[in-house]
């Protein structure tokens, strides 16, 4: 599903040029659950942003579903992204002014799903995440665990082929964290490819494979059994 080759990304300020990704190559197959680990500043988030087509690489190739997207325009990337990729963030990134229902509905609005169909799909996914009873609440009224469920609901409502999760349990206690990992595992078992950035060895154990990064390069791959 994903094949990247010799990917490079630099950050330039006036004085220094920092290399975030240094000729990085990797691949992820459809249906895989991959964890990316590494110390702070090793390029995990940069890699995730590029994989999520939020950012483009400076050099190298990124093939997504057999399409070379490394030099796609912003508009094309956005189009590809909204139909194929769901995001889960450490800080949930829910919109405070919208209710649970409206937050989850948002990606469907942007992909042009008709209203009746939206209601059906949002209700379906809220039910699945067991937060149906909170549908009219605002994010501030929910606990962290509940907020992350909403965020996951929002990520999967569009039935993406790929979910990118950036430290999804970072802001949660261990019990809520485990719940979230269970949810992700379930999704993966139903066929969604998942790439997760994490600091937690515990969470990483839910994945099939761990890619460890250091200074923008792959240093090790562990296959989980």
């Amino acid at each position: 599903m994903i094949k990247i080759t010799n990917l490079e990304k630099f950050y330039r300020t006036e004085e220094v040029e920092t290399i975030a990704l240094n000729k990085l190559s990797m691949h992820v197959d459809t249906g895989e659950f991959v964890a990316i680990m590494g110390p702070s500043g090793c390029g995990k988030s940069t890699l995730l942003n590029i994989l999520g087509m939020l950012d483009d690489p400076d050099e190298g190739s990124y093939v997504f579903n057999d399409i070379e997207v490394a030099h796609f325009t912003e508009r094309k990337r956005a189009d590809l992204r909204k139909h194929n990729i769901g995001f889960v963030f450490q800080s949930f990134n829910l919109i405070d002014e919208l209710t649970v229902f409206e937050n989850v509905e948002l990606p469907l609005i942007y992909t042009g799903v008709p209203s009746a169909e939206r209601v059906k799909r949002v209700e379906e996914v809220l039910d699945k995440m067991q937060i149906m009873h909170r549908r009219n609440h605002y994010p501030q009224q929910l606990s962290g665990g509940q907020q992350q469920r909403v965020a996951i609901a929002r990520a999967v409502v569009n039935k993406p082929k790929l979910i990118l999760a950036d430290e999804p349990t970072g802001n949660l206690d261990s019990s809520n964290g485990n719940d979230v990992m269970e949810l992700l595992t379930d999704l993966n078992e139903q066929g969604t490819t998942i790439i997760m950035v994490t600091h937690s060895e515990h969470d990483a154990r839910y994945s099939h494979r761990i890619i460890r990064l250091l200074d923008g390069q792959t240093v090790m791959e562990n296959i989980m059994i």
């Binding site: 939020l54 956005a78 992204r81 995001f87």
Partner: protein, 792 residues
Amino acid sequence: MWKHKTFTFINITGMAVAFGAALLLTLTAFFELSFDTFHQNKNDVYQLYIEQHHANSVDEGSAMPIPITPALKAEFPDVVRITRYGDFGGSALRYGDKVFNYNIRCVDADFFKMFTFPIVNGNNTNPLADKNDIVISATIAKNIFGNQNPVGKLIEVKVYNGWKSMNVTAVAADAPRNSSLDFDLLCRFEQFPGYDQNINDWDNQSHNVFLQLPAGEKQAVFEQKLKIFVKKHYDANIKQLIHDGAKPDNSGQVLSLHLIPLTDIHFSAISSQSKAISKFYPYLVLLISLFIMFIACTNFINLSLGRAFTRAKEIGVRKVIGATKTQLIVQFCSESFVICGISLILGVIAACIFLPQYKLAFNQQVSLNILSSPAIISYILGGFVLISLLAGGYPAWLMSVRKTAQTVKGKVGAGQSSGLRNSLMVVQFALSSLLIICTAITWQQLNYMRTKPLGYNKSEVVSIPIGSNIDPEKALTQMRSKLSSYPQVVSVTGTDMNLGKGLDNNSSTSIMAFSYKGRTVSTNWLRIDYDYVKTLGLQVVSGRDLSHSFGADSTMVLINQKMAEELGEKNPIGDLLPTDGAKLQVAGIVKDFNFKSLHHEIAPLTMVIRTGWPINYILVRVKSGNLVSSMALINKMWKDTNPHAEIGASFLDENTERQYNKETDLSKIFVTGAIISIVISCMGLFAIVILIITQRTKEIGIRKVLGASVNNILFLISKDFLKLVLISICIASPIAWYAMNNWLQGFAYRIQIQWWVFVITGAIALTIVFITISFQSIKAAVLNPVKSLRSE
């Protein structure tokens, strides 16, 4: 303050522009309102006017007969002073071998005691003691006498049968520009043309009369006393009016005398000294200046509010450290005082710089001298303090009453202030839309008046004001013969009344009433000359034009269709009209034409060639094509005929245009008001959008990650504002419709207000607002979401 350059800049620029514009407009309004207020006796002096009720109309006029003044003096001994004020008419004067042309007014000796026109040189106790005394204004004294002392010198004034010597007894200070009474020279009323002939004639109304009542006497009380006076002296007129079916007023009078307070004369539609500027006009100007200030203040308050909430944490921390509510309010207020102070200073500087352009563009006679009046100083300072307190104090108060724990967490959302902010913005945009609609409607009406066919040829006819230093009949004859050899000249004629307003700025009406078959018929009276119909391209619908080929055409008249209707005859051709003196016979009927401005309906008109009555204007019809060279030719010929001519010729279309100067000025004020208020509103909007986008950066990022396009984001941010603009237009439209419909009632010929004016205004407002929002929104929308998400 300096940490937020954009906001400080927007605040100061907006407020400075508003202060500057408001200041100029305020000066204009105060200037208009200051008319005749410099007289010490302003509270006791009144102008007399007469009101006559007819069957279907009411006449009000300030022209008075000569004997009324001695009669008032005799019968009302408690009236302190009284003076007549008449125009000397042709006012050529001679000193040595130099000839001048100035305005001479004829007044009674009380004039200088009633009105505050200080004598700067000469007899200051009774400068018009003798019949042949004359008082000269300072500027004219300098023009005539140069550096010599004018007092005691003799000057000659042209009268109907030659020159008359008069003795300069005093020099008076020039009448201020805010004076309704203006004069170059003042002589005794006994010199008034026709004084001796009309000394006992109550029907010849020729001049104005001013009274000074005893201090404290009420106007209404004196008007009541005048009833007996009217009964005594106007008995015959009253009987005639009742006979003609006059409808009496509420108190049962068909003819009555009334007073106009001196300080109202400027705004009076009755007084002939008045500029007939509606009193509504200066207040409208004041209102627009308040609109502009309100809009700028709204920005200030909105930005302070917006920033107060982004500063919530700072305030919270200050409160935790121990700042009291008062300290916080003082801090906010002093910031707003500094910003308002800087703006006020910049605004005053800008007003001073732009004053000459402003005066030129808006035809306003404003001077900064008014600034020294205590009323305006307190008005400006009062406004300044009020604005500073409101703009600084309100957000401060709002913040300081919040719970400290809430503010320290920075948890005071902008949402809590958005109700007030939105209402302020609605009012802001409603005011701007109001001004746009008013601009559009005044423009439409002006355009309508400019393009409406008036029933005569206005583009190819040149009008020459004859002036008083040449015999008018001779001038006409000479011009006729001189121009007859030029092929581009079609015809030449003369008239006593200009069409439109010429370069001499005069307009006059003469109305005459006579008894026709037992009824009183009243008609406008126009002295014309041969070829008037041809020159103006009028259409004779019945009968014939006046012509040299019929010997006795000086006893024949032309009437317009309205007059024919007034006479009530099926075929009035050949009818005799019994005017005073000769009987005049109707020779022909011309199609109605707008001989007055479009403010007025076409009225009955009688045109006569009577050489005894002076003509004041020569009209020349030229062929179309190369009008410029025709004009040059006419000017050259006129200079040959009258080398002393001071006032140039003009095309009639320029003259008719000049009739609507007041409306043009009004539309200019609307346009400027609209532009300034829109610019200031948009500056505020711009800043608020920045604030909102800053607050919503993260949300925009999230939405982009979830697939929102730039258009989605633009719509997200602008929809709330566009909603506000729509509400504003809905509020502004009925108000504008009501106000402008009232304004249009002042025109006999007017446009219908069209619905699409409101739609277009709405579209314009929406577009401007949308563009303003787009600048910042697009910038935020194309920002890489990775960056906006990192910003938290």
